[in-house]
């Protein structure tokens, strides 16, 4: 009897999977037997069906071969014979990950000195937010590897090879692939779901550079180290909710020596179709993080370069929308893409002036600001391979509340970077796509990022993709 119970437990455990505590009664035992019988019957039925199919296949194989050889004889340029083997060469490299490489080069003509680039009204983010070098230069080269690891995980690494001979891990993450109930999980370094463009790699952007709002609020592009959990609702309309917990290593946060999480981002997305021709998506995200000694350089009233730093809380809301249209939903000939994002950020904390005591001495007081910005852009493919686009950027710096100025300790002239400014930029783009894998682009922009100086920019760019076929992300 004990033996029987033990065996039943073992069978039940094997069926129910690990980690399940079971107590088996005779009734359950009978049920188990029935299930096993049922399984047996089901398999027998399937084997019968397979045998039937095999016979049929044998009958038709001869015909198929005849047709295949006929095709070979008649079709012009048909070099390969029919085969369903799909044989892949065996070897040590058979399981190599999918590799793709993005080559990217730019010719820039800028009327203002890029070294003096500034987006007035916003503290510099420390990211690569400038317009880049004048003249010919290699832009970021992207090297991506990805493959399924086992039935449960998939891994991706995207390395950015900088023109200055640096290598950065742009993204490096693992994700679950066998999850159900609409769940998705990712861990590692990945582009944050903060708005629309942040999650898209630069080579897939419709313009040479990022929107100004992404530059000032996310340091161009935010990729944090952390964990993402998201859930797609079981609805006809696309509803996705998600949360990211990260270390807050990059702007607007800072790397801190701290256990636990340093940043949290929540996002919700809604999307669907309007008829066969139009698809849309709306998103809302909220990023909370803290900065500790987030420093930047500025010129104070004495003309001395000083280092200032901010410590405190940063909260960012991003609202984004994308609408894509193509006649009958077939984008090959004509298509139109409209996208826009609105950013709003509040920061509260302490601002320390002249951390190195290089000018008027180190002083600290409260700081708070409420800043916003948005952009809207439209890109139209007016004939196969040719697209034209326009983008409008606007930033509203608001007026920062500086305790050091309000108390009379220092003056507003000591913080020129916080001068209230309404930044605008107009950008025009024309690109030619010889194939799905290559793009040549001309971009003209009038950039009023710096107070009192308009930067007239001309860019010529190539973007080419080699290797594994890229994803057609929405």
């Amino acid at each position: 009897m004990i033996k029987r119970i033990l065996m039943a437990v073992a069978v039940a455990a094997a069926l129910a999977g690990p980690g399940t505590a079971v107590a088996v009664t005779d009734a359950e035992m009978r049920e188990l037997r029935e299930q096993v019988e049922q399984l047996k019957r089901e398999y027998e039925r399937r084997i019968d069906a397979l045998e039937r199919r095999l016979k049929q296949a044998e009958g038709t194989a001869g015909k198929a071969e005849a047709a295949a050889s006929r095709a070979q004889a008649t079709a012009v340029g048909a070099e390969a014979a029919a085969s369903s083997a799909g044989a892949r060469p065996a070897g040590e490299n058979a399981f190599n990950p999918a590799v793709s490489l993005i080559l990217n080069g730019v010719l820039a003509n800028l009327s203002q000195d890029p070294a003096r680039h500034q987006i007035t009204g916003f503290a510099p983010t420390g990211g690569e937010v400038g317009p880049g070098n004048r003249g010919l230069s290699l832009a970021e080269t992207e090297l991506a590897f990805s493959a399924n690891i086992d039935p449960n995980f998939r891994g991706t690494l995207i390395a950015a090879l900088g023109p200055d001979d640096t290598v950065a891990v742009e993204e490096g993450y693992i994700q679950g692939i066998g999850l159900s109930h609409g769940l998705g999980i990712k861990a590692g370094r990945f582009l944050a779901n903060a708005g629309y463009v942040n999650e898209i790699h630069p080579h897939a952007w419709d313009f040479v550079d990022a929107p100004l709002a992404n530059k000032v609020f996310l340091g161009k592009q935010l990729a944090d180290d952390g964990v993402q959990l998201k859930w797609v609702a079981p609805t006809e309309t696309f509803v996705e909710l998600g949360a990211e917990i990260g270390r807050g290593r990059a702007f607007p946060g800072t790397n801190r020596d701290k256990n636990g999480a340093g940043a949290a981002n929540l996002f919700a997305r809604l999307g669907g179709d309007i008829g066969a021709s139009t698809a849309w998506r709306l998103g809302l995200s909220h990023l909370r993080t803290r900065a500790q000694n987030r420093s930047y350089d500025d010129l104070d009233s004495t003309g001395t370069q000083v280092n200032n730093s901010f410590s405190g809380a940063s909260r960012l809301w991003v609202l984004d929308g994308v609408l894509k249209w193509a006649p009958n939903g077939n984008p090959g000939y004509n298509n139109f893409k409209l996208q826009g994002e609105y950013f709003r950020r509040r920061e509260d904390g302490t601002l320390t002036y002249d951390t190195a005591a290089a000018s008027l001495g180190t002083q600290s007081d409260i700081y708070s600001s409420s800043q916003s910005g948005w952009y809207a852009q439209g890109v139209y493919q007016f004939m196969p391979r040719w697209r034209a686009g326009y983008r409008y950027d606007r930033l509203n710096s608001g007026t920062a509340k500086l305790g050091l100025v309000d108390s009379g300790a220092l003056t507003a002239a000591d913080f020129p970077v916080y001068a209230a400014h309404q930044t605008t930029r107009n950008t025009l783009m024309l690109d030619f796509n010889p194939s799905e894998f290559s793009r040549l682009r001309l971009q003209l922009a009038s950039d009023k990022s710096r107070l009192g100086a308009t930067d007239k920019q001309v860019f010529l760019q190539y973007i080419m993709s080699l290797g594994a076929h890229g994803a057609h992300k929405f």
Partner: protein
């Protein structure tokens, strides 16, 4: 303010919004127990309808007016993939740009490659034009061979048998219905194939210029001869230089027809037709591509009728 507190506050502030979204979403849950099938192309949606009738609710990710290679993993498709019990696609990299990201974003374990809920039709038939050399200078070529397998109706028959077993496996309660419908469908289909082959006998050897290499299986089945394509390389839009060269070639060795699919832009074919006086023939290509191509039978009836109307 400590980060832990910040997060707690953040979560508690977003929680009501998340819950109300969820509650809004719940009434939209489909109440029927029907098997939910997402087909990548209309031909597979039509085949599922033949075999499953009302036991499955079927939708197609693309229409006959869309190029299945070039669509995107748009939000509505993610929502449909998330709820699907079965995904039926052509495979062989036809959907390489959008199906893998769609499956990854679906959060649906049932339809991942290797699972019973994932069926790649082209794996079940002999493929033509498997390239010997893989190099993108040859255009957007498919390493596993030409993926446009459905225009040979004998392929549809093979796929129907596997699809039927798959439906029966996923929905055992209706297994007998699927098998019975499949047997009936195959009987009608085999009869139709014999009829089509008789009707199409005069088409044997018909020379044609295609738009894209998407007619190869039709050609192989009926013995049509493809003598050129409007695309200079597979997947690359026609260029004026290439069309001019093709026009010149047609002066010395004219084809009988210029054939393009419903989803191809007719401009290039009409341009060629005007200059060479060779008739341009639009083929429905898949179910829904023309008024007559309402189902799989209509697709082949209409395709043959349009080809037979070409002057000899």
């Amino acid at each position: 303010m400590d980060m832990g507190n910040a997060m707690k506050r953040l979560i508690s502030s977003m929680w009501p919004a998340a819950m109300s979204l969820l509650l809004m979403a719940l009434p939209a849950l489909p109440a029927t127990a029907a098997l939910k099938v997402l087909a990548c192309e209309p031909e597979w949606a039509a085949l599922v309808r033949e075999l499953a009738a009302d036991n499955a609710s079927v939708s197609s990710a693309t229409t006959a007016l869309q190029d299945a290679h070039h669509i995107e993993a748009r939000p509505s498709l993610i929502a449909r993939a998330r709820n699907a019990d079965l995904v039926v696609c052509t495979g062989s990299e036809l959907e390489v740009g959008w199906l893998p990201p769609l499956l990854r974003q679906s959060g649906n374990a049932r339809i991942q490659p290797g699972k019973p809920g994932y069926l790649e039709a082209s794996q079940l038939v002999a493929r033509l034009e498997i390239p010997k050399v893989l190099d993108r200078s040859l255009g957007d070529i498919h390493p596993a061979g030409n993926p446009h397998i459905h225009l040979d109706p004998r392929n549809i028959a093979k796929i129907a048998q596997v699809l039927s077993e798959r439906l029966a496996y996923l929905d055992p309660a209706n297994a007998d219905t699927y098998r019975a419908r499949t047997t009936a469908f195959l009987a009608r289909w085999d009869a139709a194939i014999r009829r089509w082959e008789t009707e199409a006998a005069p088409l044997k050897g018909l020379t044609m210029v295609v738009y894209h290499k998407n007619m190869s299986y039709l050609n192989a089945w009926l013995g049509l001869r493809e003598v050129g394509s409007l695309e200079p390389k597979p997947g690359m839009p026609p260029t004026t230089a290439h069309l001019a060269e093709l026009v010149a070639r047609m002066q010395t060795a004219p084809a009988k027809a210029i054939v393009y699919a419903a989803y191809n832009n007719p401009q290039a074919a009409e341009f060629m037709s005007e200059r060479t006086k060779i008739p341009a023939v639009m083929l429905p290509f898949t179910v829904g591509g023309s008024d007559r191509a309402k189902d799989l039978f209509g697709l082949f009836d209409d395709t043959l009728a349009r080809l037979l109307a070409v002057p000899k």
